[in-house]
Symmetry: C2
């Protein structure tokens, strides 16, 4: 009632009010009082007072003293992407259930920014760092290492810390195979009718491209050299790649392997303003899953990475004592066209 914009209550205030010492108040308030053998009644008094005065722990002070903050970091390449944002969602659930506070930040796929971001988080004494899709995981590792911060790579592997990654080779193999099998025997796909767009020189792309080549060769008997159009992780660069291709060949390939949903957006940009019929015969495989992407006007086979399993494994790894760095593969799932799957949000309670 009286507490307008008054200063927040501290353990000293409660100490005075309760007639106990600050350390007793502290123990009661942070839950260590049972093992400090503090009388039940003393505890209750203090708890009551805390309640009435709306006491909340100053977590910066606690953090300073304990030299850890209760914050757990997740560093993403970007927020604005279903794959990464579902990581964030899943991550949050895990952190919350451990009574800690999730902090999600992005670092724009820039090695410099990645290191700076890690450094900043370390300055806040975060307890653990989950590094997703880092351009330079080992650079970030150095920073964490020298601060004694536990960390783990997700999605893109590093050489110096544990990594949990999608089985990109197997995923791309399944996807390539599915694309090829999508064409019947009466009108089979020719090797020069299947192109891969997107990706750059990172581990994931290399694996996917390798599997793409191998599978093409195995199933179609050949694999023309120019079957891969690298275009980074950028819709516009991918768009340009499609434009160039189209200009050169006068048409799109019959079948596309698209490296990620980001590159897939490049295809959308290419489609915009062009007649829908131009794409009516197209078959697409996309390494990433997006429910809307699954219902485009042509068959889109997608690969869903197992975010829940990856995050769970990452938490398991970060908790265990340090062992030599290892990579753990999580098998992704092939998703047939026109599938609307549940996501992390479906586990939240629905309120109408």
């Amino acid at each position: 009632m009286d507490q307008r914009v008054k200063k927040k209550a501290t353990i000293y205030d409660l100490s005075v009010l309760s007639g106990s010492s600050p350390s007793t108040v502290s123990a009661v308030l942070n839950g260590t009082w049972r093992k400090r053998r503090i009388k039940e009644s003393t505890a209750q008094t203090i708890l009551g007072l805390a309640e009435r005065h709306q006491y909340t722990t100053n977590l910066q002070a606690r953090g300073l003293r304990r030299s850890r903050s209760g914050l757990v970091g997740l560093m993403l390449p970007v927020h604005d992407n279903r794959y990464f944002s579902s990581m964030a969602q899943t991550f949050e659930g895990h952190v919350r259930s451990r009574g800690q506070c999730p902090v999600v930040v992005s670092a724009s796929r820039d090695p410099e920014e990645e290191r700076r971001t890690a450094e900043t988080l370390i300055s806040y004494s975060i307890d653990q760092l989950f590094i997703v899709g880092a351009t330079d995981p080992d650079g970030v590792h150095e920073v964490c290492e020298s601060a004694g911060l536990k960390h783990v790579n997700i999605d893109l592997p590093g050489a110096k810390a544990h990594s949990v990654i999608s089985d990109n080779y197997e995923g791309a193999r399944m996807l390539t195979e599915a694309i090829i099998h999508h064409f019947g025997n009466d009108d089979p796909l020719r090797p020069d009718e299947l192109y891969l767009f997107g990706g750059r020189n990172d581990h994931a792309s290399r694996e996917r491209i390798a599997a793409f080549h191998a599978t093409k060769k195995a199933l179609l008997g050949a694999d023309p050299e120019d079957g891969v159009q690298s275009s980074g992780y950028s819709p516009d660069i991918t768009l340009r790649a499609f434009e160039v291709f189209y200009q050169r060949h006068g048409k799109l390939p019959r079948a596309l392997f698209i490296n990620s949903s980001i590159n897939m957006e490049g295809l959308l940009r290419f489609m915009a303003g062009r007649p829908a019929e131009m794409f009516s015969e197209l078959v697409v495989g996309c390494y990433d899953y997006d429910p809307f992407g699954s219902f485009l006007p042509f068959p889109v086979i997608m690969v869903r990475q197992n975010v829940e399993a990856m995050i769970a494994k990452a938490f398991a790894l970060i908790d265990e004592p340090t062992t030599p760095p290892q990579s753990f593969l999580i098998t992704p799932e092939l998703i047939q066209p026109r599938s609307a799957l549940k996501g992390p949000l479906d586990t939240l309670k629905d309120m109408a």
Copy 2:
């Protein structure tokens, strides 16, 4: 070289090494040294030492002392959604450019969780809080208010703090009109052929529903009572609404107003496993923009909320001195089917 997992350097270490006092070191390191009239040479020495010993400020200590942390909070309903994750992306850019550290967390559209989350962030002495789409903005306000924390509502308005919201009425009016106009004069839409799915009893939904009714009446001359199927912000509840509708009428309406991309996912779930032809005549308006949603096999007119403008306005408001709470409307944009627009990520530098 020598610094293995050694403890981090502090201003005291540098103080000893440089022969200056801790306060001098502090001033040099936090940039206030010019106005403290510290000799250039002293500063350089200290800066050099800091560099060599990889000094980084302990932000918890600074935060404790200054009683603010340099952290700026963004509280979202959920991460896993393009609208909200593009908010996060845009927000990050703003915060970074101010030299602060963004902290993005979600609160699951649960009033209790919203308040707890705000409280936690306050315990870390965050400097400002941006509250997006809160179920109970005024509840969160109480918490912020009594901690003297500057805050602003986004997307869903509160009565007690400034709010920046999408002009839901105007957006829904445009959308409803566009849906109706999409049907030519030779086969015009009848009032009982246009239904709204999704939404619940929040400000945004009420506005949208009001505009939907008014526009229907204005353009179609009538508006049957049962034209609105509330189904919250949940794909599965929306799915069930479609199933119920379908069972009762033996078909879908010719035209749909879908309240959000989340409800749109409910429509996708309804589509899954049903023949594509069933939807070939459908016309949909969706309040939210998603590039993949824009290319579904039937016309989808979308409304894109102006995230950049909303965030920018929110920052402007939170900085200015406190004035009586006010709501600011940001006009959204109607997006024609088959549009692939740029997002916040397009401004990041592309690397191939």
